[in-house]
């Protein structure tokens, strides 16, 4: 932890209108607000770490407002009225002073509104504008000619502004950049893009300083590096730590019901959740996935005898629908909102006095931020109730509550900048102005995520942008950028720049399918598509891979209703209202975020120390006692592997606690190895905590006889050839590659304003992946995809850590039947859709089913 800003720093004097404004509200400027002002006046960049409700926004803008006020007071009085006048004659001497960047465009708009008020009340002659994807073209052009003092925007808009010839004019006057929700921005490729843009800004405006606003993070020093150019060693911004607010009151729901062994619905606690909502003004009910949100929302309304206004909010719902919910929330008309991480970030909504987190908290920092959504006032404690949906989640909730109490943080480390993002940036730079490769390389390395970038990687990105970067030099004549006689790289055709502008950004959506509601087609359950009324009300969108797993007639929950899947046509899935109450297809597509390494370690420790179990509910305590009697519990550092027969199959269950993604990868690799060991594996299922593999071979016997060594089965060398072989065909890897290909600009999302059919894009990138892998396996895009796979959908890095952690510490327990600890993951077999990826074994199985049917 870094020290709070030293108190001996003389508090800067606030100019009169500011002092009066604070006094008028009976407020005093907070120490961290003054600390940021002092840093700015000394010309230093700063990172403010503060909990929600600490007045972060005002702190971030205070230096700018004071500076603008004093400049204007000293002279150069701006024309009355500020905006509205344009043209070179009226260009104000100041130009753009401060750029504010937020991850959400809604947040930028919200902040502008919040800032307008104090500015108006203080009578400051300051012009504030937003620029997002929704800003009309006329205003965008005007903003370039006649920029406001403060512009609020998003990372993508910044990239666009930088990729134009007038960027030096626009940004030459820039004094400050304010980066909001920095902790959230830096965890993704958007953060990479932003860091590169920031580096450009530092080059364009040498006197520039930055202010980062962040929630509490694990490593503030690291985050502080993001805010300043990295030249000649490590540089970092000054860290200002706001005083912590009142400690939150977090409890686990002490359910009177039977705690489920498995599942994620928390249906057992429904009445208790409903009761909590009834006893509070406004409750945010967080869940981890959209399907959980759907389930819970529907279930709550089924018992909503009091007619509480309960709403639903998640990323798949139609935008108009989401805006309605947000507006109702702002006006205090809602009693509760069931939501996903779509409401994790920043916008302030009135009077939330309770946060309920249903299911696994996943991470300590994540939970802290969610809890912070309750009661945006520092001096009152936030209240939160955690509702575990199964027994393992009880352990995770307990670990998370302890971590929050200790104020422990587990945000991920700063990213290494991705090469696909770099490629996009390089093209953007060329669209702005011709550049020398050496200069750009230096500039890029000044961005913290790219500080360790090698010249080889930089050159491969440059080469990729120019002609594709292929070993076979076939595309010189189709080059996008080319080096001139002056050594400068420039775009070969204005069309290249136009296309860049249409495809900027790093958010690559999963291919989505629109869900449209039509009338039921009648009795036919299966049969050719057709005869379905086209059109239909748009309910929202779901991931293509979900729809691909549906057969006409399947029912599922969406937009708060049970729907029946009828047919797929082009980019729409047609559904009708189902009469059944219970959907047939349980969608649990796992949350995006795996259990954090930190919480996982705490849970493992808890299992290993029975003395801590008394703090767990009796049901869970009893469950662990039983496990100890029937099998064993792993000691600290050990990996427990159980093998046992059940009906006509043999099972292997292990408990790494490394999250579903890493477990899925492990499952794919283990089944390959078991196949080779002739143990005839048939499948596996993974959850956040455990992995179960089953097959026909008697694993207990194979281990006993020495035919199978667990130390070899779990050896790290599985990350060699086995991983390679799997990556060649993995659909997850292909998805990852597709994202990199789109970001790097190999495949265009949009051409000429039209969004390409995403289904088309998916097909072509899969084929490209196969061909590139066979012919140039070290191509930049494949390297980028591998780097992404290490931490993304395949979580290979974490699997690697697991394998090395348990080396020589695998304990085997051959059992005659399933152990208590194995029950939860065993229950997911059959109930869950098949874990991991579809493999060809499923085709064989489907074919065998057919034969069985035919034979009667």
């Amino acid at each position: 932890m870094s020290e709070p800003a030293p108190l001996e720093t003389p508090a800067p004097d606030l100019p009169e209108p500011f002092a009066r404004w604070f006094a008028g509200r009976g407020w005093a400027p907070r120490p961290h607000q003054l600390a940021l002002l002092a840093a700015a006046q000394a010309g230093r960049s700063a990172l403010l770490i503060a909990p929600t409700g600490a007045g972060k926004t005002l702190a971030g803008f205070l230096p700018t407002l004071v500076e603008l006020f004093e400049t204007r007071r000293r002279g150069a009085k701006p024309p009355a009225g500020g905006g509205g006048l344009f043209g070179a004659a009226h260009r104000r001497p100041g130009g753009l002073h401060t750029l504010y960047i937020s991850p959400l465009k809604a947040l930028a708009v919200d902040i502008a509104r919040n800032l307008e008020r104090p500015v108006a009340e203080m009578g400051l002659p300051v012009r504030i504008e937003t620029r997002t994807g929704d800003t009309p073209q006329s205003r965008r052009s005007r903003q370039r000619r006649d920029p406001p003092d403060i512009l609020l925007t998003t990372p993508e808009q910044l990239a666009l502004l930088l990729a134009s010839a007038d960027a030096p004019y626009l940004f030459g006057s820039l004094r400050r950049v304010v980066l909001d929700e920095l902790h959230a921005l830096v965890t993704s490729k958007r953060g990479d893009l932003l860091s590169l843009g920031l580096s450009r800004l530092f080059a364009a405006a040498p006197g520039l300083t930055t202010v980062g606003l962040s929630a509490t993070v694990a490593d503030p020093e690291e985050l502080a590096r993001f805010l300043v150019p990295q030249r000649d060693g490590v540089a970092q911004a000054e860290i200002v730590q706001a005083a912590a607010g009142a400690a939150p009151i977090v409890e686990m729901l002490d359910t009177a019901e039977h705690l489920p062994w498995a599942g994620h619905s928390a249906a057992h606690a429904l009445a208790e959740i409903y009761g909590l909502i009834g006893r509070h003004r406004t409750t945010l009910v967080f869940v981890n996935t959209r399907s959980q949100a759907e389930f819970l929302f529907q279930a709550l309304w089924r018992i909503n005898e009091d007619g509480h206004a309960i709403a639903l909010h998640h990323g798949s719902l139609d935008v108009a629908q989401r805006r309605k919910v947000e507006a109702a929330m702002g006006e205090g008309r809602l009693r509760a909102v069931v939501c996903t991480s779509s409401l994790d970030l920043g916008i302030d909504w009135g009077d939330v006095d309770l946060v309920i987190n249903v299911g696994a908290p996943k991470g300590a920092s994540r939970l802290t931020q969610r809890i912070g959504r309750a009661n945006h006032r520092l001096d009152e404690p936030s209240r939160a109730v955690l509702v575990p949906a199964n027994r393992f989640e009880v352990l995770e909730c307990r670990a998370a509550i302890d971590a929050v109490a200790e104020n422990a943080q587990d945000t991920p480390p700063l990213r290494t900048g991705a090469l696909d993002v770099l490629a996009q940036h390089v093209l953007g730079c060329a669209c702005g102005a011709p550049f020398l490769a050496d200069d750009l390389f230096d500039e890029v390395r000044a961005a913290a995520p790219y500080a360790a970038l090698t010249r080889r990687d930089f050159d491969s990105a440059l080469d990729f942008v120019a002609t594709g970067g292929y070993a076979l030099k076939a595309y010189e004549r189709f080059a996008k950028i080319r080096k001139g006689a002056d050594g400068c790289w420039r775009v070969t055709h204005p069309r290249v720049a136009q296309r860049y502008r249409l495809n900027v950004g790093t958010i690559v959506e999963e291919p989505m399918i629109k869900i449209r509601l039509v009338k039921a087609r009648g009795a036919a359950t299966r049969g050719p598509a057709g005869a379905i009324g086209r059109g239909g009300k748009l309910l929202g969108e779901v991931e293509e891979y979900f729809v691909e797993g549906l057969v006409p007639g399947d029912t599922f929950l969406f937009a708060g209703e049970v729907l029946r899947y009828e047919a797929l046509a082009e980019d729409s899935a047609y559904v009708s209202r189902a009469t059944a109450e219970d959907p047939k297809v349980p969608i649990y597509a796992g949350g995006k975020f795996p259990l954090s390494t930190y919480l996982a370690a705490r849970v493992r420790d808890m299992l290993a120390s029975p003395s801590t179990w008394r703090r767990l509910p009796d049901q869970v305590h009893g469950w662990l006692d039983l496990q100890r009697a029937r099998s064993r519990l792993p000691k600290p550092g050990e990996l427990l592997v159980e093998t046992f027969p059940r009906s006509d199959k043999h099972y292997l269950v292990c408990y790494p606690f490394e999250g579903r993604l890493a477990h899925q990868t492990l499952g794919m690799l283990l089944t390959r190895r078991l196949e080779r060991a002739r143990q005839r594996p048939l499948g596996f299922v993974a959850n956040e905590y455990a992995l179960a593999v089953w097959g026909l071979g008697d694993l207990s016997f194979a281990v006993k006889r020495g035919a199978l060594r667990l130390s070899e089965l779990f050896d790290e060398d599985m990350l060699g050839d086995d991983l390679e072989a799997w990556l060649a065909e993995s659909a997850l890897m292909k998805r990852t590659f597709r994202q990199c290909a789109v970001i790097a600009g190999l495949i265009e999302r949009r051409s000429g304003g039209e969004e390409k059919s995403r289904r088309q894009v998916t097909i072509s990138t899969d084929l490209v992946y196969d061909v590139l892998r066979r012919h140039q396996p070290d191509h930049m895009l494949l390297r980028a995809a591998r780097a992404e796979a290490a931490t993304g959908l395949l979580d290979i890095r974490r699997l690697g850590l697991l394998l090395s952690r348990v080396r020589g510490r695998i304990v085997h327990e051959p059992l005659s039947r399933v152990s208590p600890l194995a029950v939860p993951v065993m229950l997911e077999i059959g109930r869950e859709r098949v874990a991991g990826e579809a493999s060809e074994a499923l085709l064989a199985e489907a074919e065998a089913d057919l034969v069985r049917e035919a034979m009667g």
């Binding site: 002609t467 594709g468 292929y470 076979l472 076939a474 595309y475 189709f478 996008k480 069309r495 290249v496 296309r499 299966r526 049969g527 050719p528 598509a529 057709g530 891979y545 691909e548 797993g549 549906l550 057969v551 006409p552 047919a567 797929l568 297809v585 190999l746 495949i747 265009e748 088309q760 097909i763 072509s764 084929l767 490209v768 196969d770 061909v771 590139l772 066979r774 012919h775 140039q776 191509h779 859709r833 098949v834 990826e837 579809a838 060809e840 499923l842 085709l843 064989a844 199985e845 489907a846 074919e847 089913d849 057919l850 035919a854």
Partner: protein, 247 residues
């Protein structure tokens, strides 16, 4: 179900790394026994004839000319796989069922190495390019003969299926693939589609996508779902009635 049995074509051990697995299925079209190869090619043992459809050579460079710099290895890749099947069966005649080049100019963009490779495949055997909608005219310097339609005994070979009622037709053009859903997971594979009277071959080219056999385009070829899709797996084919496949 169709008349399907494992052909067991000289399984060359289980050494998959040797380049290609060898196993196919015998399909009967208009009384003629044909071997559907895992590569997507079709082998007519009686005539020692090898059929391939929709090679789409030079598709990569066609895309590059329009601004998408796709890896330029597709032609080499397609020819390499073709060379494997040619080497394996040693055909007397090879027939490419149209759309062999992605565009007419494609024959001119062909790299010298690829042109030489193609010529070496043609040496010592007959080679026929059938006209496709992408390559309606004969290409320059690509060897072989050119035809719009070919008849061999009971079979007629053409690019685009002529429609319902034709008997003994082998065609390409549609790039059939089929999707099977099992336990909530979906698998899509290229496939041979046949009802015993007609057969539509999968596309062979490296950059050719697939069209689902449940798409309306197949309604003009087959009578409803009265056909079978033979999905190409890693080591064998899987036969599913079209009604079991999902759109």
């Amino acid at each position: 179900m169709m008349d399907v049995r494992a052909a067991g074509w000289g399984v060359a051990g289980d050494d998959a790394s040797a380049g290609r697995a060898v196993a196919g299925a015998v399909l009967v079209v208009a009384g003629v026994e044909l071997v559907a190869d895992l590569s997507g090619a079709l082998w007519w043992p009686e005539r020692r004839m090898l059929l391939v459809a929709d090679l789409h050579l030079e598709k990569g460079s066609a895309c590059a000319a329009r601004g998408s710099l796709l890896p330029p290895f597709d032609t080499a890749d397609t020819l390499e796989r073709l060379a494997w099947v040619v080497a394996y069966y040693g055909p007397s005649v090879v027939v490419a069922l149209g759309d062999s080049f992605h565009d007419t100019a494609g024959t001119e963009r062909l790299a010298p190495e690829d042109r030489a490779h193609l010529a070496s495949l043609q040496r010592g055997r007959d080679w026929v390019w059938i006209a496709g909608n992408h390559d309606p005219e004969p290409g320059r310097d690509v060897g072989g003969a050119f035809a719009r339609v070919l008849r061999f005994g009971p079979l007629v070979l053409r690019h685009e299926p002529a429609g319902l009622g034709t008997v003994g037709e082998i065609a390409g053009h549609l790039h059939p693939c089929a999707r099977v859903v099992q336990r909530g997971r979906s698998l899509t594979r290229r496939c041979f589609a046949t009802d015993g009277h007609r057969l539509v071959m999968p596309a062979f080219g490296a950059y050719t996508g697939g069209l689902n056999v449940r798409h309306a385009a197949f309604d003009t070829v087959f009578d409803g779902t009265g056909f079978t899709a033979h999905l190409i797996g890693d080591n064998r084919l899987y036969a599913f009635p079209a009604s079991r496949c999902v759109g």
